[in-house]
Each structure stands twice: as C-alpha cells, then as structure tokens.
C-alpha cells in the first residue's frame, strides 16, 4: 500500500493496524500479521479462545506491550514505535478498561476517576490533588453518567463491589477524553446480570459520546448482543470479521475449535 493510500485510509478509520506481529519469544508469534481498521464509532467485539492473543492485541495498541513489527495508525501517526512523551500523549487519548478493574484500591473513587487526567496536568498538581475545576466538574458528571452518583466520590475503591468498580473504571477511561477506548475482558470477573449492565453502559457511552470502543470478550452472546461488528480470532489470526448476524456455527467452530460445546 502506498503512503498516501494509507493516510486516506487512516483518516477514514480511527485506528489502522497493518501487519502487526508480536513474539514474546523469538520465533513463537502470538499475533501473526493482524490487519484491522476500527471505525469512528460503535462497539467492536473481539472474540476468541483464551491465549489466542486478544489481550496482547489490545495491549499493543496502547503500547503496554511493544509489538515486534507492523504499524499502528492512530490520529495521523504510526504509534508502533513512539517513545517517551510522544507515547504518553498517545496513551492519554486511548482509554482502557480492565478485567480486574485495576483501580488504585487505596484511592477514593474521585481520585481514581481523576487519574484519567494525569496525562494532561503537571506533576505538582497531581501531588497536591489540585485538579482544574473543569476536570472535577466533569468527574462528577461522569460519576452520575455511570450510575454511581456524587455520594460515591469520597468512598475508597476497595469498599466497592465488582460492578461498581468497573463503573469507576469506565468513568476513568472516559475522563481521559479518549479518541478510542479499549476494554480487556471487562465482564469476565462479573456475574451475568452485572456483565449485561456493564456492556449496556459501554454501548451507551460509545453511542452518546461518539467514542469507538474495542472490547475483548469471550462471551459470544454478549458480543453478538452489544457489538455492531465482531472480530473472531484464533491462533493469533483474524478468522472472522463482520456483523454479529453473520457469525454462524461454522465460524464459532473455527474460532473455538470443535462443536460439542455449542
């Protein structure tokens, strides 16, 4: 692909992944030649068995994991190799929601949400908790939007239930003012009812705020119910990419192997 073609492509989509490859041990690729474009809105689900590289793929995008080769186009630049402050500027534009919520347990809910602003403010402000008023106003607004309400603000994160924690995790990601949100198995530690609520919340956030969300999820039913696009991965490769309706039994057999479980 020529450079100009790539760039027109990159403006059409929010995220462009080209020939992405990741090896933790030389010669043993976890991701083999991934090519994807993520559009400007909606919820995209990545399904696939455990150990197939879903989590690695998502972590390559915000560079918590460094890719071995390939390109990742985001906001007009290839971010696969950026370092230092360049990398931090990219990271603050990409929110992340984690399987085990990864809230800082001993900080309050408000502090956890505001930590989404750390990439934007000087260190002394972080140290003194002197966040700009606009950030604090927005944090309260988000606290409301994720269904928790202002009286949760001063509660310590370790006093919350799983579902409440994940709501704070989502608020923290949105607080970053992101151009893209990544969610790594956001419902795997939650009960079925809470899982649905969390997926509903993310789909709503995506639709109302126009933020594209990429969700790793191994619950196929949830993926089909909430995503407008499903990407099926197996063995480090994309084997299905299309609307949830198009995902048939033979696709699932290819993704997860065998058919007895269906």
């Amino acid at each position: 692909m020529t450079r100009s073609a790539l760039q027109t492509h990159a403006t059409a989509s929010v995220l462009g992944i080209r020939h992405l490859r990741k090896e933790y041990r030389a010669g043993v690729p976890v991701l083999k030649d991934i090519n994807l474009d993520i559009g400007a809105e909606g919820l995209t689900a990545i399904i696939g068995p455990s150990g197939t590289g879903k989590s690695t793929l998502i972590r390559c995008i915000n560079r918590l994991v460094d890719p071995t080769s390939g390109e990742i186009w985001f906001e007009g630049q290839d971010i696969a190799k950026v370092q230092g402050s360049g990398l931090r500027h990219i990271r603050r534009r990409i929110g992340m929601v984690f399987q085990e919520y990864n809230l800082v347990e001993r900080l309050s809910v408000m502090e956890n949400i505001l930590s989404g602003r750390l990439g934007y403010i000087p260190v002394w402000r972080a140290f003194l908790r002197k966040f700009p008023d606009a950030d604090i106003t927005r944090a309260f607004e988000l606290l409301d939007a994720v269904g928790l309400g202002a009286d949760f603000a001063t509660r310590r994160a370790d006093k919350l239930s799983g579902g409440q924690r994940q709501r704070v995790g989502i608020a923290r990601a949105i607080m970053q003012d992101p151009g893209l949100v990544l969610a790594d198995e956001p419902t795997s530690s939650l009960d079925p009812k809470t899982s649905v609520e969390i997926m509903e919340l993310m789909a709503e956030m995506s639709a109302r705020r126009g933020i594209p969300i990429v969700v790793n999820i191994h619950n196929v039913e949830l993926a089909k119910r909430f995503a407008h696009r499903v990407i099926g991965m197996t063995g480090g490769m994309v084997v299905y990419d299309g609307p949830p309706d198009g995902l048939g039994a033979h696709h699932l057999a290819e993704i997860y192997g065998g058919e007895d479980w269906q």
Binding site: N102, L118, G119, V123
Partner: protein, 263 residues
Amino acid sequence: MSASTLARAAFPPDWTKRFVWIGLAIYTVYAISTLDIDGARIARGMANAARLFDRMFPPNLQPDKLELIKDGMIESIQIAILATFVGVLLSLPMGLAAARNLAPPWVSWTARAIIAVLRSFHPVIVAILFVKAVGFGALAGILALIVSTMGFVSKLFAEVVEEISAKQVEAVRATGASFFAVLIFGVFPQVMARFVGLTVYQFDSNLRNSTMVGIVGGGGIGAPLFTAYQRFDYDVVLTILLIIIGLIMIAEFVSARIRRIFQ
C-alpha cells in the same frame, strides 16, 4: 492402596528439611554444653543480682540529678526525632531506587549495594566513627542514627514497593501519566500506610538507640547513664532506666495511634 500409603502419598517426607532440623537440634545441644553453665555459677550470679538490685532501690530523685537526667533525655529525644526525620526522608528515594520492579537493574543494584554497606555496622560502631569525624556531641549521634535508619527503612521500603499490585500501576500508566505521576497515583497510595508504619517503628528504635550512642560520646542520656554505672551510683541508674522505659511505652502508645490514622 492402604490408608497409610495414601497418607504418605499426600504428604511425602522431605528429607532435606528433616536433616536441617536434626542438625540444628544437635548443634544447640553442643553449644549449650560448651557454655559451662552449672548450678554454682547460677547461684553466685543470683546473689550478685540481688546485691545490685538492693543498691538500686530506692531510685535517686534528687533535684540536681533529675535536672541532669532531664537535659540528657531531652537531647536523646531530639536526636531520635532529627535522625528519624532526615533518615526517613533519604530512605524514600533510596528505597524506590532499590525496588526492582520500578528501577532499571543497574540503579537497583547500586542502591542495594549502598544499603548493604549502611546496614553492615551496629549504630554504636557507626557512632564511634562519627564521634571521631565530627567530635563529641549530639551531631555524631544524629548522623549515626541517620545511617542506621536509612539502612533499615530503605531496605524494608524497597521490599514493600516490590510487593505492590502491578495491575494498579499499569492502569495509571495506561492513562498517559508520566513516571512521577505514576509514582504519586499508582505506587504511593499502595505503600504509604506501610511506609508510615516503618517510620514509626524506626522512631521507636531510634529512641532506644539514642539512649545508647551517648556511651561512645554521641550525645543524649547515654553518657550520664554510663557515668552512673562506673561510679556505682546504681540508684541513679535505676532512675534513668525507669524514665527510658516510660518514654518507650509512651512512644509505643503514640505510634499505635499514628499507624491507625494512616491505615
């Protein structure tokens, strides 16, 4: 299979561990046998102890002695406070540098080597060095206790930092926070309570050590205590010992309170 073979399969004997325990037991018996402890010696010791305690009572409470003791105690407390404050302040960056999950290997190994040197000597030996270097007085005692504070607090603080949850740190890093912002929001909240605990514990320990550095000229209550011993003023000795015990108990009470606040 019978029940006993099943029991053996569930808890297979660990012969290495058994040999270590047996070896330890044999050595303990041998070591006690070389100490030459016999009934006559214990009886003589008891008699000496009785005479010593007899001369200690009642504690000497003469105003001029109390004045002397008061000055010494206040100096000891000041030594402990200053040494703890400066030592802990220096231990914070040292401990972070020594933590292998935060610092690159060359930094953490350098910090670990420095900590090992700081920990090599007993505070009294360090105090002798500082008395030679900066002369008699509280300064030498303060410097000696700063060294021992750094040795203890930075080593244990590094271990605390190494035990933190990497997930919480990763989440803060993923927001685009700089290294220091990650420290402030991802690392410190996880370790501050333990760090305060270490600090309070070390203050306790510095209070005790500050009564001792005076023996070698490092200032504080140690010098009057040592002089009283040498002049056989055992009643003064008892007064000083009782005050030290009282002080340590107060410190214990206060430190428990402080720890609860920072939980």
